[in-house]
Symmetry: C2
Subunit: 175 residues, 2 copies
C-alpha cells in the first residue's frame, strides 16, 4: 500500500505512549501527493461539490488540492482570531480545556454542497465543530474525507452517527 | 485583472490604519483559484523544481497546489513546535518581539531545487527565515513566489538583495 508506506510513525510524540502519524513524508513525495489526492476525491468526483472546507493547518495543504481537482472553491476553517472578516465560531474539547475554530460568515452561499477535509481523524472534535460551522453558514455537508483514521478514538463513528459519510485512506488501530 | 478583483480589502484590520488584503475570497472562487495557481507557476514550469516549500498557514493552501502542478513534493515551513520530527529553526522579527519558523531536517535532500511559496510578501521577515531554513537543510533555492506583494514594506527588495528571484501577481502600493 503505497500511501501507508510513505507515512512516518514517530513514537512517543508529543508525549510518551502516543504514536504520531506524520504525513509530511507522504506530501514530500510527488507521487505520494498525487496518489493521496486522487484517492481522496474518488467518491466525490460526480457530486458537483461547490466548495471544499479545509481545517487549519495540515487540512489546508490537502484541502486546496482537493478543491481544485473537484473544480470547487476552497474555504478555510481556522483557529480562533485568524480570519479577518465577520466569523462564526464553535468551541471543541481538547484533552485539557477547549479550543475554537471559525469560518467566515460569507464563505459559503446557502445550499452549496460542501466537502470537509482534514489530514487525520482522531476523536473527531475539530471535524464535528467544522461540520457545525459549515451548516451554521448555510452549507449542505455532502461528506468528509481524511487521509488517516484512528478508529479507536471514535471520530469516524461520531461523524457517521451525525449522519455524514466518512472517507479515509489509511487506518491505524490500537492508537 | 481578475485576480485583483477577487481579493477583498478589509480596512483597519488587524488594527487602525492597516488595509488587510484577504485572499480567502479569491480561493473561494474555483476560477480564481485555478488562475492564481497557473500564474504562480508560470516562471517555474521548465525548471525541474524538486520541492515546493509553503509557509504556514495560508502558504500551505497554495503551496500544495503549486507543488502538484510542478510535479514536485511539498515541504512545510511551520510555526515553532508544530513539526514532530527533528527540526532546524530560525527566529524572525515581528513588530513587537520575535517569532520562529522550523523545517524538518530531512525534508530536503542535498542539492534539491526548491521554490518558496507564501500568499503575501510584506516586510519579508518570514520569507527570509524560510529561505535560510531551506539552505540550512541543503536545499538550492531557485525562486520565490507570492500572490500579493506590498513593495513599500521592503520584502521583495530584501529577497532580491539576497540574490533570489521574486515572482508576485498583485501589488498594492501605499500599504
Amino acid at each position: 500500500m503505497p500511501i501507508r508506506s510513505l507515512i512516518r510513525t514517530i513514537p512517543d510524540y508529543p508525549k510518551p505512549g502516543i504514536m504520531f502519524r506524520d504525513i509530511m513524508t507522504l506530501l514530500q513525495d510527488p507521487e505520494g501527493l498525487r496518489i493521496a489526492i486522487a484517492q481522496l476525491i474518488e467518491p466525490f468526483t460526480d457530486m458537483k461539490i461547490d466548495k471544499v472546507a479545509g481545517i487549519e493547518a495540515r487540512g489546508f495543504i490537502i484541502g486546496g488540492l482537493v478543491a481544485r481537482d473537484l473544480n470547487a472553491g476552497f474555504v478555510a476553517i481556522r483557529k480562533k482570531g485568524k480570519l479577518p472578516f465577520e466569523t462564526v465560531g464553535r468551541d471543541y474539547e481538547l484533552e485539557y480545556g477547549t479550543d475554537r475554530v471559525e469560518i467566515h460568515t460569507d464563505a459559503i452561499d446557502k445550499g452549496e454542497k460542501i466537502l470537509l477535509i482534514d489530514d487525520l481523524l482522531a476523536t473527531g472534535g475539530t471535524a464535528m465543530a467544522g461540520l457545525e460551522l459549515i451548516e451554521a453558514v448555510g452549507g449542505d455537508v455532502v461528506g468528509t474525507a481524511f487521509i488517516i483514521d484512528l478508529p479507536d478514538l471514535g471520530g469516524s463513528k461520531k461523524i457517521r452517527d451525525a449522519g455524514h459519510t466518512v472517507h479515509t485512506l489509511v487506518e491505524y488501530e490500537g492508537d
